[in-house]
Amino acid sequence: MKKHSFGSLLFIGLVLLVMYLPIAVVIVYSFNANTARIPIDFTGWTTDWYAKLFEGRSGFGDALLLSVRVALWAVVISCVIGTLGAIGMARRVDGKSSRLDTAMESLMSLPIMIPEIILGLAFMVVFNAMGIRGNDLRLVLAHVTFCIPYVFLNVKSRLVGMDPALFDAARDLGASPARVVRDITLPLCRPAIMSGAFLALAMSLDDFVISFFVYGAGEGTLPIKIYSSVKVGVSPQVNALCTLIMGVVFIAVALSRYLSSMRAARQRRLERQIRAA
């Protein structure tokens, strides 16, 4: 291991402190017994805030359910549209892509680049004009729009890196074009679809700006609920909620790291076996 100088360690320490101090404060405050609207002093440990969170009257549960419901629908729909779009576009790319293809590709990925506030406003105006009132429907439609590019771009880049002879070979062995998609294209794209789906899921759960513009009557998604509950001061319940969310994210990240390191180890073992054989 390389030895770090005192100066560089100090610098790294400072950077990490600035990055993580606010998060640490949230975690600590979630256990703060101080009941003031804007608590500053730490007056003792308690887990009351967590208990209150699950009482049902808090409204956080419904908000979470709505968030998850919208995210799942948005991810499923955008996976279908994004994957089909990528496959359809890649098929035309046999060396020469027309100007229309390039234009279509840019249009598919544009929603990522448009400022959220503009997208949100646009959706609100259009939904109101069209008379789309259902809260869920409005949210899902909006989320699908900004989720598609994550799936589309992921799958597209995977397809571009694939040997076109694979598809020729499958046709040559008797598979119809639809069968080639089922047996060859989709299985080979699965990792790309999955990673696109997870990105889309994260984006949908996290979205505040667009959802805020779009949602109509009733309670909003979890980020909206959190925002509205802190307007009058940071409720300790929110601290508890954020701590829980961070815990879930941390476990998910750790799990995926662990799984991929297991996969890498298995791959190394296989390679050793092949070399030995």
């Binding site: 020729d168 499958a170 040559d172 008797g174 047996d183 296989l270």
Partner: protein, 364 residues
């Protein structure tokens, strides 16, 4: 001869930048090992893809076993292809790769297993069923690709430079193996290569392609010994190509003037030029004899310009005067004692030096 198993009739292909194939017609007979040989860009891969159905011809027909398949998609044609980079499905193991075609056909699991195992033992890969393609060497991938294609018992097996990615030693081994495989299976092979040695070693017939048309069709012996065009003479093996003008024609033969040197030559059935016509004499280096006495009844004289010993052979350059220099090759066992600069008689059997029409330079 029997009915052709594959007939190409006036195939043309235009990608929008000029003709890649211009009216290619060819009959392939059952059990043949036919090689399409030509430099890159001559249209051989396009021809193969048209036969497989992966490409549509601009004009012309493809007939397999008497049925016109020009309009059929690849999955409906009784041919299978071994692709250049194998194109094994990376998410399937060896067994699944080979069984894929059978599975698509809806053949029962037990029969699939039986036929896959037979194909595996044919390419000597028994025991590799569970391996993934990424866990195989280049030669093994090659064999899986062949097994995957032959397991469907195609009428014609198409092979697109299948040995191109292998190293020299493995390539030579696979040449022998492919040849014996073809004899064992009795399947018609249409093989593509730009490697003339590979073509000469393996084929029962060779089709020499150049710029989208056929230069010559013949057995390896015919195309090597009796090239019909300048391109064929230049492409296959080493040749001294002597471009000149016919100056005299007599019943015994004709005279060709090459840069001031007059050489004797024989016309053939395909090409017997008149006086004044351009022609080229194709002279293999190993056919040239030289010595103190006149060779093969010729009184041609030359000067030894250089000698080089190359791996068991002696390469000698002999100047016949002016700019006419011949490359001769002799076995080192017959090493001569003539020093560089000495004058010798040069000759060859005129039957072994075919005469071809002299093409304009840019056509070669």
């Amino acid at each position: 001869m029997a009915e052709p198993v594959l007939r190409l009739d006036g195939l043309c292909k235009d990608y929008g930048e000029g003709l890649v194939l211009s009216g290619l017609s060819l009959d392939v007979y059952p059990g043949e090992f036919l090689t399409l040989l030509g430099p890159s860009g001559c249209g051989k891969t396009t021809t193969l893809r048209i036969i497989a159905g992966l490409e549509r011809p601009t004009a012309g027909r493809v007939v397999i076993d008497g049925a016109d398949v020009t309009g059929l998609p690849p999955e409906k044609r009784p041919v299978n292809t071994v692709f250049q980079n194998y194109a094994l499905f990376p998410h399937m193991n060896v067994f699944q790769n080979i069984a894929y075609g059978l599975k698509v056909l809806g053949i029962s699991k037990s029969e699939q297993k039986e036929r896959v195992m037979a194909a595996l033992s044919l390419v000597r890969l028994t025991g590799f069923e569970r391996r993934m393609p990424s866990q195989l060497s280049g030669g093994q991938r090659q064999r899986v690709a062949i097994a995957r294609a032959v397991v469907l018992q195609p009428k014609v097996l198409l092979l697109d430079e299948p040995l191109g990615a292998l190293d020299l030693k493995l390539r030579q081994e696979m040449q022998q193996e492919l040849k014996s495989l073809q004899q064992k299976l009795g399947i018609t092979f249409v093989y593509i290569t730009h490697d003339q040695e590979e073509a000469l070693n393996m084929s029962s017939r060779i089709v020499i392609l150049n710029a989208g048309h056929i230069e010559q069709i013949g057995t390896p012996e015919e195309v090597y010994e009796c090239p019909l065009t300048l391109f064929a003479a230049d492409f296959i093996g080493q040749n001294n190509l002597l471009h000149g003008t016919v100056t005299a024609v007599s019943p015994e033969g004709l005279s060709l003037e090459v840069n001031g040197v007059t050489l004797p030559a024989l016309p053939n059935e395909v090409f017997s030029p008149a006086v004044g016509e351009r022609a080229a004499l194709c002279l293999r280096p190993q056919r040239i004899r030289y010595g103190r006495e006149p060779q093969h009844g010729m009184t041609l004289k030359g000067t030894i310009r250089s000698k080089e010993y190359v791996g068991g052979m002696q390469h000698t350059q002999i100047a016949l005067g002016g700019e006419v220099v011949l490359n001769a090759v002799t076995q080192s066992a017959e090493l001569d004692s003539y020093p560089v600069g000495s004058e010798v008689f040069v000759g060859w059997n005129r039957r072994h030096a075919p005469l071809v029409p002299d093409a304009p330079k840019e056509a070669v």
